[in-house]
Amino acid sequence: MFVWFHKLASPPFFYKFADKLAPWLGWLSLLVILAGLYGGLWLAPPDYQQGDGFRIIYVHVPSAWMSMFAYMVMAIAAAIGLIWRLKLAHAVSAAAAPLGASFTFLALVTGSLWGKPMWGTYWVWDARLTSELILLFLYLGYIALNHAFEDRRTGDRASAILALVGIFNIPIIHYSVTWWNTLHQGPTVFFGPRAEMPASMYIPLFIMIIGFMLYFTAFILKRLQVEVLQRERNTTWVRELVEKS
């Protein structure tokens, strides 16, 4: 088992592994998401306060969760890449970033669309939305730095440092934004699931989160294939792969 894990760090082995696994996970994630949507959009009863408008939760919360999860993946992979000098770990970081940024963008947009009917404005400077906005800037900064270098290896290592500085700062940023929010008696906007949510409401949410996680895994694998090809384009195994196809 450990030997297999070790082999996974080798780019050609990983590429073939991803090639086989990604489609399965992709289709599975579609099934799970459809199941979650059926539960959330059809089966779950309307909220007593927000009516059917609360159903945005089934994309908003999974997106927000994934935006943070993707950053963790990015930062941990960056640390592994720096400490053990694993090219593949850096590729994972680079692959996670656009997905994470997409989820952050989605969390912001769905949060905004949720906010307008509920609290009157398209944007609310509440602590969580503001933290999401800053997270988006952190992602964009990472992507910009990663692409700014001609030598991909330097780009990977520099953006890895940035990712680690970012992950350290995120709790501080979140705390300061929360503090700032209470200072200005900002709206205590409630985007998360409430404690007394009935099962028919929170089970679809749980299913959607699992669906999004499967989606993330599937398509980070696909993106990783691209990253690996870009980094290894001059090696023999890639040339053999191309000749065979």
Partner: protein
């Protein structure tokens, strides 16, 4: 090279480049002056905006000033020599950022009292404003230095630096502006000042490691 010799050298070099180092300070003054021009220069409005405006202007000025932190040394090769020095690079970097702050950040801190005057910021609170900047601008310098270390090898890294660093500076901005804002209306400002102090300690102890890691990566290409 002894540490004091290092400080002396950095200060002497900074003095020779004093024109270049004056840019952040001039930038600070100009940006602060832009706000009344863009808005209604009515005293009560300016007073309510003053803490935020001064802080944002200081933040931008410090970040813009950080680009020159390592550039000249990178271009003439002395940065690589620093790597070979018997002194730990972390200490060299710590002192470099500190002297750079003395040359660019400290004048800014002192000028802020003048800016307070321009924006009708109450004089009884200027002490807190200056204190907040005194604690906060070094943190901004260190955060900017991390960005400078990561982008020093890039030809057009100048514009990228602020984009990378600005999100990280949000806590400093929040606590700094809050301290100045509270003092202006007579409320106690101790809590945000303590937070700034804590961040300064964190920056002093941890930032040098990130900065040296960034420099090593930038130099190995």
């Amino acid at each position: 090279m002894k540490l004091t010799a290092l400080i002396e050298r950095d200060l002497r070099l900074a003095y020779r480049r004093r024109g270049e180092l004056a840019t952040p300070v001039i930038f600070f003054v100009i940006v602060t002056a832009l706000f009344p021009l863009a808005l209604n220069p009515e005293p009560t409005l300016l007073r309510s905006l003053a803490p935020g405006v001064i802080w944002v202007a200081a933040l931008l000025a410090v970040l813009i000033g950080q680009d020159s932190l390592f550039k000249t040394d990178y271009e003439d090769g002395s940065l690589e020599l620093m790597l070979l020095s018997p002194l730990s690079l972390e200490w060299i970097v710590l002192l470099r950022v500190f002297t750079h702050w003395l040359a660019t950040g400290l004048p800014l801190v002192m000028l802020s009292s003048l800016m307070a005057l321009l924006l009708d910021y109450p004089m009884h609170a200027v002490g807190v404003l200056v204190m907040s900047l005194l604690l906060g601008t070094p943190v901004l310098s260190f955060l900017g230095a991390v960005g400078a270390a990561l982008t020093v090898g890039l030809r057009r890294g100048g514009m990228l630096l602020p984009i990378l660093v600005l999100p990280l500076t949000v806590p400093v901005l929040i606590f700094g502006a809050a301290a100045a804002g509270r003092a202006a209306v007579g409320e106690p400002a101790a809590a945000p000042l303590y937070f700034l102090g804590a961040m300064l300690v964190l920056a002093l102890t941890l930032a040098p490691f990130a900065i040296t890691a960034g420099l090593r990566i930038s130099l190995e290409s």
